[in-house]
């Protein structure tokens, strides 16, 4: 096998697998796939040094569509799996991906603790404000008055999460928001997120053409944050709460030591086995 340094540079398409996505035509998740592969190509990460860990849902299928190591895990548990992987293999670039339901409802508890744990990984939430795979129910980011689901005919009546503000409160050290209508801008954000040492959270606004067709109008409302990223939490919080959720860019980035059990050396599987032997 040729050493990474001897191989010609990989192009974005080299990070895509041969499996055809089952996403609906027009789904924003295609652009996330494009952005991830462009970011990895730009960073020249060898495919065998990257792992994509996902939960369950339309967006979580992305593990199968990338040609890197992948684990399509249990609903809401992608971050737990990724934490275990990063603990054992700190040398890997660990990417975690899923949807707003997977990450903020079923996996909500894992999310806040992953933020405060600050392990060196990148978490991408493809936020379409709906459970798409189960045919369109309200998620934790759905507006309180969205009444298009039979389960919530008068809306949920519950205020949605602001995922970026939640990440900030829970202790994430890199927080950004991107938009699938601008896949190249999203790729740039992902490069910064991957390069950040610590837990990076990227909320990707990703319209669901099938169950939230009105989101196809997002393109008219999305714009960049007026201010550059800040390392001051209070300032980031102020900006996030003043924003309507449609501003994109890196919001917050700060230096804080990444948590890495075992001192950053890859684990010895034999030792793990011995520790758990009954």
């Amino acid at each position: 096998m040729a050493l990474a340094a001897d191989r010609p540079p990989l192009k974005a398409r080299d990070y895509k697998s041969d499996i055809k996505p089952v996403w609906c035509p027009g789904c924003g998740d295609f652009a996330v796939l494009s952005a991830i592969t462009k970011a990895l190509a730009f960073l020249e990460r060898p495919r065998e040094e990257v792992a994509m860990i996902t939960g369950i849902g339309c967006s979580s299928r992305i593990a199968a569509y990338t040609r890197v190591y992948g684990f399509h895990g249990v609903h809401g548990r992608a971050l737990a799996l990724a934490g275990g992987l990063k603990a054992a293999r700190p040398d890997l670039t660990v990417l975690v991906a899923g949807g707003d339901g997977d990450g903020l409802s079923i996996g909500g508890n894992h999310f806040i603790h992953a933020c405060r744990r600050n392990m060196d990984m990148t978490y991408i939430v493809m936020d379409n404000e709906v459970y798409g795979m189960t045919k369109g129910q309200a998620s934790p980011t759905t507006d309180a008055d969205w009444d298009r689901s039979k389960l919530t005919p008068r809306g949920t009546g519950i205020r949605p999460f602001n995922p970026a503000a939640l990440a900030l409160t829970a202790g994430a050290t890199f927080i950004a928001r991107g938009f699938t209508g601008d896949p190249n801008g999203l790729a740039k954000i992902l490069v910064s997120a991957i390069e950040h040492r610590g837990f990076s959270f990227v909320q990707a606004l990703s319209p669901c053409k099938t169950f939230r067709p009105e989101q196809m109008e997002w393109k008219k409302h999305v714009r960049g944050f007026a201010q550059p990223p800040t390392h001051i939490g209070a300032l980031a919080a102020e900006r996030l709460h003043a924003d309507d959720g449609m501003s994109t860019g890196v919001i917050y980035q700060t230096d804080y030591p990444a948590f890495q059990p075992g001192g950053g050396e890859p684990g010895d599987p034999g030792q793990f086995e011995a520790e758990f032997r009954i």
Partner: protein, 173 residues
């Protein structure tokens, strides 16, 4: 300064041109795949053919660039007007029930934008050799557009109707 006015030499112009064709091919491939998955084989084949033509054009441009060192530009540093190259199909404009006629209409819009992109450069670029090559590329895009118009004329009129799906993915109340 407009993008056309920044086309100061062949390397930067060809760097933009190659990426424009490659991304158009990638998008057409993506759309062909998704139409395959959604059991729309005719439209899938149409997008596959369009991807093939984009790839041929990209190859042609790469051959013209062989003796030049093209600048390496990060995807986000290209100054496309709408964030993506003008020949790249808008993914929001497709749906699983689209027919060949609609797919070709989409392709025509893409070719028109590509033509306009080159046409502006052929008028405004500061470099004479860029203006000349851009004019040539604009003519080629116009030819592609004409071919698409002819292709679309060959499609029977009854295909203009949107296919019916008795079991759509969403049943709004």
């Amino acid at each position: 300064m407009s993008l056309a006015q920044k086309m100061s030499g062949l390397p930067i112009f060809l760097a933009y041109s190659v990426v424009m064709e490659e991304e158009a091919a990638e998008r057409h491939d993506e759309l062909a795949d998704v139409m395959d998955v959604h059991n729309n084989p005719e439209v899938a084949a149409t997008f596959r053919k369009l991807a093939h033509y984009s790839r041929l054009h990209a190859q042609e441009i790469r051959e013209q660039s062989v003796k030049l060192e093209l600048p390496k530009i990060a995807p986000w540093d290209f100054e496309w007007e709408d964030g993506e190259p003008p020949e790249t199909a808008d993914p929001g404009a497709v749906d699983y029930l689209m027919n060949r006629s609609k797919a070709l209409r989409l392709a025509m819009e893409n070719e028109q934008r590509a033509h306009d992109f080159y046409a502006v450069i052929s008028r405004e670029a500061p470099s004479a050799e860029v203006r000349e090559l851009a004019a040539e590329f604009a003519d080629e895009e116009q030819e592609h557009l004409d071919l698409l118009v002819e292709w679309r004329k060959r499609i029977p009129e009854d295909e203009e109707e949107t296919p019916f799906d008795p079991d759509p993915p969403h049943m709004p109340e």
